[in-house]
């Protein structure tokens, strides 16, 4: 077991012992298990997946949509410090879809670099949220 603490600007989202955590880092996704080596890494936008028990299937994993921050692994403690992390239950799929469509539309309409960058960020953010929302549906069916 390894202890995970997921801290965001809107409070602690997860605090407990887990079997495995899959984290999005700048160099790709990493899975962290018990006795992982000490690590400090920058997190990117992506999905944090948590497997609570060794026997849980992929469908039973808990997912959070996240958009960058820091990951610190040390002596069987994982600290994930990110700006936002939304659990699949906190995301409404229809709303996420709508937001994604809007972001894509914004991107196609943006003229200068700044607004393009902003729109791209929104597209990334909302596509991840949508993915997480869809993961929830798949796990239910």
């Amino acid at each position: 077991m390894i202890h995970l603490k997921l801290v965001t600007l809107s409070g602690v989202k997860f605090d407990g012992d887990v079997h495995e955590v899959v984290l999005p880092t700048m160099t790709g996704q990493i899975g962290v298990l018990t006795d992982h080596m000490p690590l400090i890494s920058a997190a990117t936008a992506g999905i944090i997946s948590i497997r609570n028990n060794p026997k849980d299937t992929d469908y039973q994993m808990e997912h959070f949509a996240t958009f960058g921050g820091v990951i610190e692994v040390a002596s069987n403690n994982i600290r994930v410090i990110v700006d936002e992390a939304d659990n699949s239950s906190e995301i409404n799929e229809a709303e996420a879809k709508k937001a994604l469509d809007l972001a894509i539309k914004m991107k196609s309409e943006s003229k200068d670099e700044i607004s393009l960058e902003r729109a791209q960020k929104l597209v990334d953010r909302n596509s991840i949220r949508l993915q997480v929302a869809q993961l929830k549906r798949r796990s239910r069916s």
Partner: protein, 291 residues
Amino acid sequence: MASTIALKRRISSVKNTKQITKAMELVSASKMRRAQENAKKSREYQELAYSLLARLSSIKEVDEHPLFEKRKVENKLYVSITSNSGLAGAYNANSLKILGKSILEDGKNKIDSKVITIGKKGAQFVRRLSGVELFSVYPAFGDNPTPNDIRPILNTILAEYREKKVDEIVIIYTKYKSNLVQEASSLSLLPASKDQSTENLDYKYEFTNFEPSVEGVLDSIAERLLEVQLWQCLLESLASEHSMRMLAMKNASDNANDIIGDLTLEFNTARQAGITRELAEISGGVEALKD
């Protein structure tokens, strides 16, 4: 004994004052609730981020990064967080006292100090001080500050630090502990100091892996972590300001009530005395007519 008309006027003037302080109390109470919630939510994030910054700065390789470089302190930059308006009890006075003390100490140690103030009251205070540079002045950000509001401040102070114009950056703010306890305190933003971190993980950084690299990690997270520090200080100060203002206004309303009670008593005595005197005069007149 004062005349009844004068007393009546005083009573109504105190009543007006009470209405104002009561209204301000209620406004502050509702603002405080929101500010308090905001401050509490992100506090854990800030504490963890600060302890990470502090631990990062104790690693050898990190020394080369422009934001984590350690050098002899010759120039200090203070960021003082105060409010735009007064009537908040000792809110501004407490944090400015700390600022004044630190600047005095720097003067003794031959350290040049500059100040960035957020909030008008701080600027007024620093302008009166001698031997300190008022670097820039920002108004307080209102009740719902956004991260975009603090961006310019952060960019300025980081640029100053990178260009080695300042060697230490200290934020002076008011820490919100509870509705009744707020504490003016200072937080050294750069370099992050270890003794203030709330927790200690004892493990060796020699074995820690940085992915993709030390610079890569620091470049992508350092500014964000620092931004959160300033942000949280702002939120804590805001919560403190509102709860101190609420308390000050509550005391003012209570005092007004006491004064109204005293004045009413005096007014009634004066009125009764007048009635008694008139009765005595009338009965005296009747006695005189009888003869």
